[in-house]
Symmetry: C2
């Protein structure tokens, strides 16, 4: 599959975005890099979200190697970053395609040259279907979405048959109390019947699930085995319009377990395994760090590799007030960083004029975030002044990326070496 260069969109970056340096007009990221901005020289308006180039590249290599070891295709979930420049890095690094969550997101990816999209979601609504129908006019565009009900299949069938088009789908499996997906034999049967009615219009190409709705490994392994059994059964029944059929799962927390189960299964015919972690590209210091420790301890492939994923995204900002001996207020709020699965954690501290940020005291802690401010607990003896710069790690990349329209990529000297745009 050739990955065409982006041709449909204007990649220029607007001067009214937050987190940038001085820009008087629209500029490409290449033009911006030539301006020579440096974070530590205070060239950026803080707060700013930054990515560290070497860490991003490390994480890209790490996950691709992991997937290769299991013979699995990597289709990173692009909803995490919605940054087509990062999609491109993922594809150039060996990814099979990009996973996305909505018709809008698929449109963004296609406009930026992505030619294989797994929309790990049901496609519903007239305008959303129109968006996908438009993309399918491109003969090089390979697209899959999910179905989990006869009603959904019928809506797709009616829309696409009317336009003389066909659409490829994966059957989504689910669990009671979970999100989407067929729960039982009755729902499965009804969905397959609907697919049979719309043969040639709605083409069943595989089986999909999202294990992240379950919380413990045993249940997840059980769910995977059910998915493998359903897939084998459908292979045996000749239900798939694609050869090999696809089996897809895996968020950013349990991809190791999914890889183990899927790669150990016997499906009869060959089946292509497509796994979809998304957060690995920046990793975090929160839930995914916890999961990564588990993976490094338990997974033989991960153990073999020299190091694990590393946090690659920081929010840098200023201390704007030190109103109490144990309290600094920094300019970073719920408008700048995720707060849904842990608050940001202080990482680096530097006073303007210095070029070597120091690790922050282990005592420091963000205790609260408002829309535009965070409360940073310090100790009275800590040397913290108004105007100091602090870099924070984050927990949950997805809800941090969507706070930023541009993120700078930095080299090890904190020079801006690229700027990526997001399209949320």
């Amino acid at each position: 599959m050739t990955q065409a260069k982006p041709v449909q969109v204007d990649e220029q970056i607007g001067w009214l975005n937050k987190g940038l340096g001085a820009l008087e007009q629209l500029a490409t990221s290449e033009q911006i890099v030539r301006l020579g901005w440096n974070l530590l020289r205070e060239d950026l308006s803080l707060p700013a979200a930054v990515l560290y180039r070497d860490r991003i590249e490390h994480n890209l290599r790490w996950m691709q190697r992991f997937m290769n070891a299991y013979g699995a295709r990597l289709a990173p979930h692009g909803k995490t970053t919605m940054a087509p420049r990062l999609f491109q890095m993922q594809i150039e690094g060996g990814a099979w395609g990009i996973t996305l969550a909505s018709a809008h997101q698929a449109m963004v990816a296609h406009a930026h040259g992505v030619r294989r999209v797994l929309m790990a979601n049901e496609l519903v609504g007239r305008r959303n279907m129109q968006v996908i129908a438009e993309l399918l006019k491109d003969p090089d565009f390979e697209f899959y979405c999910l179905v989990d009900s006869a009603a959904g299949v019928d809506l797709l069938g009616a829309f696409f048959s009317e336009r003389g088009l066909s659409i490829r789908v994966l059957l989504e499996l689910g669990v009671m109390g979970g999100r989407c997906g067929v729960r039982n034999e009755e729902q499965l049967g009804a969905t397959l019947e609907a697919l049979a009615r719309w043969k040639g219009v709605v083409d069943l190409c595989g089986v999909e699930l999202y294990e992240g709705v379950l919380k413990d490994e045993e249940n997840i392994r059980g769910f995977m085995r059910r998915a493998c059994a359903v897939t084998s059964e459908l292979v045996a029944q000749g239900r798939f319009a694609r050869g090999p059929a696809l089996i897809s799962g895996a968020g950013s927390a349990w991809y190791d377990v999914v890889a183990e189960e899927f790669s150990a299964a016997k499906f009869g015919d060959p089946v292509e395994i497509v796994l979809r972690p998304g957060c690995y590209i920046t990793h975090d210091v929160g839930n995914y760090e916890v999961q990564q420790k588990r993976i490094l301890a338990s997974n033989p492939i991960a153990r073999e590799m020299q190091s694990g994923l590393v946090p690659a995204l920081h929010i840098w900002t200023y201390v704007q007030s030190v109103p109490e001996a144990e309290l600094a207020i920094v300019q970073m709020g719920r408008r700048d960083a995720a707060f849904d699965s842990g608050l940001p954690t202080p990482a680096l501290h530097v006073r303007p004029g210095n070029t070597e940020p120091q690790p922050t005291s282990a005592r420091w802690e963000v205790t609260k975030m408002m829309d535009q401010h965070a409360y940073l607990k310090i100790a009275p003896e800590d040397d913290v002044r108004v105007g100091d710069m602090v870099g924070f790690n984050i927990s949950h990349p997805c809800l941090t990326f969507d706070k930023w329209r541009v993120l700078s990529i930095l080299d090890e000297k904190y020079n801006v070496v690229d700027v990526v745009q997001t399209y949320f």
Copy 2:
């Protein structure tokens, strides 16, 4: 103060934004309106955030009348929406200026024609100060920011004096355990001393506080009285470089109490009262609804007006799965709506083909949101199908607006009559 029309920015709307209808290229909102999109005809890609024109206009009038009754200036907090088209409606409706939270936000407002900005925050950092210094080259631009420490005043003084500029500031008062602001006489004295050192460069024009860090009315009234006393004292000492001096407070929850206290105070010289609620423009069905009930019950001015603020922002989306008798999954997640002070609440339900959305059952409830999905609890007897459209009220406008780059404004027939862009 004349409000110049926006001249510095390209107001065109990109076709890759979520929540829009079919758009093949950049278009102005006027061009988009001529396309005749209608929400109920499924012309928009859902999820979409929409504003109801009549409700927005009602809320604008309501708050301006409230402020006028107290002789207070309204400087709505623009960080809520970051939508310059809404800023313009606020200013045309009588607002004195726009409040903002950062140098970036001030730049956005200025670029769109706003000529009086109260940055209700400390200005820290070289690039942030440069942004403001650039704006101050415009002789029609009136700008205030906050100071709460000698260190902060010194940094401003050094930066602006070096460039032969001066900057107007308000002294921020704070409370122990609160956010920014001087806590005590010692901090107050040190800040005033620094201001005296930088006379002619850092000009003290008033006093500011944010009462929203306190949770009960009695403490808030006490804080207001302290602010009035400090202001009177500074008036008596001739500390202000502006006549009349400013006194400013009020978020979206306690503006009535602040208006009462400030308007009842005796300052010696005339003092201009500047209040800064921001969420009133869309209101919500959450914390601000609770506060509004209190205000309507207790405030004489609010009681006189015929109705209170009304919720003016909905997220519309599709049911994508009904996998269990009491569970529907809708395409709306933490990427689309605030979830920090209550989840969205179902409001309207319509099946495509119908033109009259019906109020949703009181039994329906959002029980959980993931990044791109919400779990909607229904009853087995409810008529809910895949492909149905549901409109949701939200709690906390600020963290909903920042999920959207464009929001459509609808008339009472759900026609798109305007499109506003945000600049987060």
